[in-house]
Symmetry: C2
DNA sequence: AATAAATACTTGCCTATAGCAAGTATTTAT
DNA sequence: ATAAATACTTGCTATAGGCAAGTATTTATT
């Protein structure tokens, strides 16, 4: 068991570097990782609320409030006050914000393409399968027969 | 290709959360992730230098200098000036520092044990194999036949 | 040997990131 | 009508981390 844990920790160190490489272009951009994650959530879920983002990315709500305010002043995000509930604003990317996000997004994809480009089609598909199996194992719910 | 990249990005989001869970106890401790990474490198490589740590964990050397100074005042690290080269100090954990590091280390291991505890022996070994294959694929050097 | 260049580290200064707690506005429950 | 809950904001603060200049020492150049 200890041996297995150590191997996983070794992989985690390895994979932390991979993720670092992939995120590097964001750190070199004008935006922070948190800002891009917020853009990501808004892009993939238009009319999301600050509260929902907070829950998804687990960030301090004070910090998030200021972060969104900044994105609004940068003309990246629009806040649209709900008619039903005046406490809430729905968030969406502006046209400009969408451009900026999609550009960053493309560069994330490019960074990954870079990493897997030298693999042939079969290897790439094997990789995806491996990832999928890991995700399944790690999200598998416990059962009585575990040992 | 795009599809494959998207799947990898999905895995990366998933795995970023896993790593976050594993690191959570450190964020709840008295020490920062960087401090613990530094302790980790010193523990695994006694008489390492600041320069070497900088290269391994890619951190600003000014920040690192102060970080090490803090660990020294906390009686976690000792600096031992090299006799040959007076610019250099070799770093080692104090007895106290080793205790603190090993405790944090154990808790990292515990967090991982937690995640895989409900898997049976066979599944755990499968997991390790999957990790290993991924690491091999991702570190594989490119070749002409790639496609 | 004297001077220049490189290396290892330190320090000063500054900004971004993020956390906590109290506060405001609005809605929902009692 | 009042209290409690929700959604968000604001004030205050601490920490993380970056950049550039500075110090001490060693190595290379002439």
């Amino acid at each position: 068991m200890e041996n297995i844990v150590n191997k996983i920790r070794g992989f985690n160190r390895f994979y932390t570097r991979i993720i670092g490489v992939v995120n590097n272009h964001i750190l070199e951009s004008r935006y922070s990782l948190s800002e891009v994650r917020v853009m990501y959530e808004i892009y993939h879920n238009p009319k999301i609320t600050a509260r929902q983002i907070k829950e998804i990315i687990q960030v301090d709500e004070g910090y998030l409030s200021r972060l969104i305010k900044k994105l609004v002043t940068l003309n990246i995000v629009n806040k649209i006050k709900s008619q039903d509930d005046h406490r809430i604003s729905y968030l969406k990317l502006t046209e400009n914000g969408e451009k900026i996000f999609l550009n960053l997004n493309q560069r994330s994809s490019d960074a990954i393409s870079e990493i897997i480009q030298h693999l042939n089609k079969g290897e790439q598909e094997e990789l995806i399968l491996l990832y999928k199996k890991i995700e399944i194992l790690l999200t598998k719910k416990g059962n009585q027969n575990a040992d």
